[in-house]
Structure formats: structure tokens, C-alpha cells
Subunit: 488 residues, 2 copies
Amino acid sequence: MTRYKTLAHTMAKEIRSGNIPVGARMPSLRHVIAQHGVSQSTASHAYYLLEEWGLVRAQERSGYYVTQGAGIAVDVKRKVRPDFESGKFDISNLVFSVFDAAKHPGIVPLGSAFPSPHLFPLRRLAKSLAQSAKLISPWSTVVDLPPGNEQLRRQIALRYMGIGISQPMEEIVVTNGALEALNLCLMAVTRPGDVVAVEAPGFYAALQAIERLDLRAVEIPVDPVTGLDLDALARALDTHPIKACWFMTNFQNPTGVTLSTEKKKALVELLARNEVPLIEDDVYGELHYQADYPLPARAFDRHGLVMHCSSFSKTLAPGYRIGWAAAGRYTQEVQRLKLMTTLSASIPAQVGIADYLQHGGYDRHLRKVRSALSTQRDLIRIAIRRWLPQAVVRSYPDGGYFIWLEFPDEIDAMALHRLAIAKGISITPGAIFSASRAFRNCIRLNYGHPWSTRIETAIRELGELVPAASRSAASTWSDNASPDIDSN
Amino acid sequence: MTRYKTLAHTMAKEIRSGNIPVGARMPSLRHVIAQHGVSQSTASHAYYLLEEWGLVRAQERSGYYVTQGAGIAVDVKRKVRPDFESGKFDISNLVFSVFDAAKHPGIVPLGSAFPSPHLFPLRRLAKSLAQSAKLISPWSTVVDLPPGNEQLRRQIALRYMGIGISQPMEEIVVTNGALEALNLCLMAVTRPGDVVAVEAPGFYAALQAIERLDLRAVEIPVDPVTGLDLDALARALDTHPIKACWFMTNFQNPTGVTLSTEKKKALVELLARNEVPLIEDDVYGELHYQADYPLPARAFDRHGLVMHCSSFSKTLAPGYRIGWAAAGRYTQEVQRLKLMTTLSASIPAQVGIADYLQHGGYDRHLRKVRSALSTQRDLIRIAIRRWLPQAVVRSYPDGGYFIWLEFPDEIDAMALHRLAIAKGISITPGAIFSASRAFRNCIRLNYGHPWSTRIETAIRELGELVPAASRSAASTWSDNASPDIDSN
């Protein structure tokens, strides 16, 4: 091995171990030359190599900085807590500003987390709710404590059976939406200080939960075309005491990518070998445009290590707040945590949805929604190509309702977000999808709303705003500046 | 001061500082004599004094042990976690065994946490739910995120106004029952390692939350007649860095005692002086038998330090899981934690209850329930006097549906609980109401169920089981044995 390669490997090891944290400035060339007794050319070449590996980025006239990359342990608390304690928990502030924006029906909800409520059979569901509420046994209060209403759990188990998964209903814990299911599962398998593997980019709620529970995150890269980087995960499992993984295997939020069946099998095997539980967030699975539900990792689990979490919030009734965890060997612990924190999910909502699943025509409704979303995906892609030519769209989601856009590096998605809100348009800036604040030039758009000229116009206006969101255009964003040169 | 008094004060200080933990054996007389250079008589007298102060208990032929007493910091984690990690989290196991027992409608639910569901206007409420569910705006999903449905929060604010409290509806956060409200409030004002003041005996969920969040508890004694010991609280505030208090000021669980208005005012002032927030659990307040709602501490708060938590679970609809926190200056933090963990409470349940509050005749219903509970309290007191003459009942609850019984020290309430379950009767053993496992000779009975010969018979059978629950009767309980001599 040449000298510069040896040096690069040495420094890569330092980075991967977490000794040099994400975002930190690497030693200067002068320092490396002195410390390692190498020539300027060797030091420079070593840095070029680290850049090529995606571990550092050069910043003009400033040096090299550690990028958000594979297998680096991120202390979310250390990264995020200082802001939090001063009342400015950045990721949450962003999430809340996005939510607040989406709260006004007047805003074009490209940044919303939910599809259009008009896609949902709310009247039919209200009928189910009304009928079953009258028949609620007075005793259901005590009987339907965790794991939840039996009819509902039976209907959920039947849906698993429908896609070829044998899921004992005894292991299904009904929760207040998938968000609670995911949080309870995470609490069930971790203690403060533990390390958890998450996706980058990935669902911000995982980062918030990790922060809240005093855990640490290792970010595993997600490619918008191929999905989770399993090699990076394997390396992370070797180098970190990972206690749990929190991944989205179907129509991932925010990229829309789905792991292939082969990769899901490999993932399950890898985690089984390491005895690490997987918290599988599969809330978009039912919104597949192809004929079949892409089997989740849960389907290949023979050890009870996969906690499969989902809900009816994206497919039927966001406001009912009914989700579940099929928690495998962790079922009892999840039940107990539920009992200690929120006791049980709302019983009328549980029996209402159970009745609807049995009599309401859920599959017919789903077919309609899938077809609508698939059309809307095609329309938004055309609109993006036309009005946002600056954006690279590598994702081609086959389900769900999110699309992921990458702008050139000099575009600050946070700035674009602020400019858009001022124009009555919400988008989701990429920065909220990682603990290390990567993806600053990316945005997530929601196409879960019926296509309209209003949306088309909003995308055109977004395109017009892009130049103003360039880092060079506005000094006001300079405090958020990230490296200008990206070797990825 | 005489020598033995000086010695007693020295040892009391050691105990109160937490240096000698609750349950620990005190130094032997011989050791004290040698260490302090005092006579046997001085050492004995000092111990008598400590006993009189309630700080130690003598155990025959074994020595003196630190009792659960005023102002001693209890590391719940250290006390409870070892069992938890081996899968036997004692307090939770007990709670779950009680809940599981209550799950079977066949069991006489003297150990239940809820009043009889037959007391609730479930049909009328279902009508409200059915009507309002049909009218739910599709957009309510996004609009009704925390703080919650506006109609419901307005109705709750109106009820505060009805008892003379001006409660801005902007500070009301709707939650999944009071349990979530309490948990969110606790999370909002603490960080791992913080010390929280709780009641002893007190609601076990507080202990579970403290354990779960890696906090520590200081137990403040509650007298069944006069309520919380404010002097003990003042001392605890002086000696411990208390970050929050979690108290129940009306019809306290489990004793049924209500703090007088004067004591509530003094409590609020004491905490304001110390800048310590109060999490006020007031879920039984509406179930007062006297003419007026006993004003909660919240009524006297001028600094936004009181987080007043309540719900409709004990008064209207346990299964709907609708509660709230009026969180004062902590409102935003509570809202954010809600958004991060369970997003929002079920919307049909929120609008259903809002409609019922407006049109359903809630006050008429409450008057009926209060009158029923008041009668049932009188009947259970008569039955206890008749069938459980061994029990001392110092509590005379003026609201709620719990009564607190003290048996002689040699009675093991845990044993009684197990014996009763075998006979189809649930009770709540006192041990679950404190972190230091005091109150082993106490039980809580629920009289929230319409009086019947079945209940009368159950209490008679309980009385017959008491002798078998004596520590001397069964060696199987000996591992749970606590001191035989109680100086309190």
C-alpha cells in the first residue's frame, strides 16, 4: 500500500470510530504533515481519498470537515440538546413549523406528512363508528386495555394473513397511531446511553425519540434508488454496540425507496446473527401501486426480533389515532410500557375501525387510493421536470406519497422552506431527516393531494424561489452554511 | 439538650440525608456505644426517640431499621430496577396482576382502578359521538393536533370557569387520558437523575414514571385524615434538589383524603418560593359529594407553576381516553412532547365528548354519580366495620371511590391479595403505593360499583381470609416480612 493510502486508512478509522465527530474540522494539512512525518503531497492525497470515500468534505479556504457518513456514531443528545435546553431544539422547531404551516387549510400542503383527508372514506367510517359505539360493552374499558380490542386485533391479524404472514394476534398491541408503537418498541429494547441505528435520510421522529430517551444514533445511509446500505450497517454492527435498528423498509420516508426482497432477507439475517431487534416502520406498505404488498422484513423473521409497526393513519383515518406493534418476543414489555404511559387506545376508535375493516370495504377503498396516488406521482414528476429543472429526482416511489428532490449544493432547502411558507406553500426541508444536519440541499414533497392547478402553480412558484435560496444569494442563511464542495 | 437527644438528632440527620437508606438496618446498640462513647442507656434512649419520630422501627431480636419516612430520598431505580431487569419489576407486576384480575367480569372488582362502567351515560355519549363523527371536518386531522380540538378545549375551559378558575384554553393540552398528561408534564420539567417529590402512599403510576425516566423519588408522607405533610415537604425542599412535585390534592389515591383550602394555598406558596412546579393530579375532583368542587391548588397559582391534570375517565368515559393538562408556563413543552410521542388524542373521541359536554347533560349525570358514590361509601364503611373488624379505617372520603384500610402489622396485604384473587375477589395491596414498599399491612378498596350482596359477601370472605394472611400463619410470605413493631 502506498503511503497516502495507509495514512487515509488510519484517518478513516479515527473518523469511523467516532473519535472525530460528524461536522468537526479535520486536522490541517500542516498538522498532518508534522504529526505523521509525511510530505505535503502524501497528506493532500490522503485527504483526496477520504473525500472520495465520502468521509470528509473540503470547504473552500477552511479545510476538511467530517461528513455525515457510514457507521459514524452520532451523539444526538450532544448535537441537539444544547439547542433544546435553550428552548431551540432545532429539529423539533422545524417539524413544528412545518406542521403549523400545514395546519392552515389555505396553505398548499406539499410539506404535509399526511395525504389528503379527501382520499379517506370518512363518512362510511363514521357510520361504522356510530353503529359500534352504541354496542360498546360497558366492560370494554377494562377488557380492552393493552393489548387492545380483540375484534380489531383479529382483523389486523387477518390482513397479515392476506399477504402471507402468520401473525399471532396475541402479539399485536394496539397503540395511539404508529408513532406511539415505534416509541414504545424503542423504549422496550433500550436503556439511556444505548446506540440505535437509524436511516439517513430518515423519519425525524426517530431522532426525536432518540434525543428524548438519551440514546445515541448511528446513521446508516439510504440511497434513493437501492435503499439502506447493508454493508454500512454490517460495519456499524461490528464497530458499535447497537441495541436496536429503526428502519422503514417500504416506501421509505423521505426517499420513497423500497428495499428489495433479497435485501430485506439479508437484513433480517444480519440482525439475527447479531441478535439485534429491528423496529420496522411500515406505515406506507398498504399504499403500494404494484399488484402486491411488498413483504416487510417481518415476513422473514423467525426469531421474534422484528417489531412490525403500522397504523391506519395513512390509509384510512389519521385522526382516529389507531396503530399497532406486532412486537414478537418484546410483546409483553411493549404492553406494559403502553399501560404505564397512556393505558390504552381510544376504544370507540378501535371498535369503529374493526367494524369498518369487517364491513366497510377497506380493500376497495385502498385500490382507489393507490390508483389516485400513482397518478399523482406521475403528475408531480412531470411538474417537477417542468418547473424545478434544478432538482435531481433519483427516487421513483412505487407507493406512499413522498418524493425526494436533490438540488445543487449551493441551494439551502431551509431558505427555500422559509421563502415558500411566505408564499403560502409548505415543503419539508431535508435537514430534519438526519441528526448530522446533512441533506441541506434536499426537500421532500408530498403528492398525496388530488392534483390541481393550485398545486401545479405552487410548484412553478417554488421553482421561481430556488435562485433566492442559493447560499450566495442571501447572507441571512450564512449561519446555516455547510461545505460548498461535496464529493458524494 | 440531654446526651441521648443529641445522639438521636445526629442519627436522624444521617437518616434524613439519605446516607442510611430506607429499609437499611441501623448500627447495633453495641456499635453505637463504641462509636459515640455513650452508655447503653443513652444509646437505647436515642433509639426510642428515633422510633417516636417515626424514623426507625424495631424488629424483634434483629435491631432497628430505617422506615419509610419524611424527606428521605429514594432511588426508585436502585430499589426497583434490579427486579425489573430480571423481568420481575415488582410494582408493575403487582399493578398488572391487579389489572389482569379486574379484566374478568366475574371477579369482584374491589381492586379495580375504575368505578362501575354502569355509572356512565354510555348510550347518550355514543349518540354524541355518532352525530359529531359524521360532521368531523376532513381537515380536523391536521387542525386538531396538539393542543387538541378547539370545541373540547373551550368546554373544558368553561368547566374551570364554572368553579371559579380562569383557565386560558390556549394552555389546555388534550391528551390520551390523565395518565399521559401526567407523564408528559413530568417529562417536560425533568431530566434523568432529577429528584421528584411524590406522596406516600401515592398513585403507583408516579413511581412507574419515575422509574421509567431514570428519576429519583422523595416520598412525602400523606396522612389519611389531614393529607400531605407540608412540614415534611418543606424539609425535603431544603435538603433535596427537587425539580417537580406530583401530588393529588382532592380525594387522594389511595387514601381518599383532600387537602384543606388553607393547606393548598400554603402548598402553592411553598412551591412558588422554591420555584418548583407542581403536577397536580385531580382526576377525582368532579366526584365530590359535598355541594362544591374542592378548589384544586391550580386555583391559587399565580405563577403558571401548577400543571393541573384531569380527564373524563373517572367521570364519563374511561375507554374514550380523553384527558388534559392545563400546563401553565410549560404548555409549549408539553404540546411538543405530545407531538413527538403520540401526536394527538383520538379526534372522534374528542369531538364526541365536546358535543356531550355541550348537549348531553354532564352536570345532571355527575350529580347522579356523586350521590351513588356517596351512598356506596356509607355502605362499604358499614360492611367493613361488620366483616373486617381487624381493619382501622381512618379515612372518610368526601369524594372519589377509594377507601384505605390499615390492618395490624402482622397482616401481609400481599398475601391477602393472593388469597382473595384465588376466591375471585380483587383488592389493591398497599405495597404498590410506595417506592420503599411501606404500607404492607394496608389495602385500598374500590366502592365505585353499585352495592350488591355479591360485594357484601366478598367483604365477608375477605374478613375470613385475614387470619391466613398473617405473617405468622404462613412461612411462604416470610421473605416479604417487614418489621413487627411499628412506632408510627
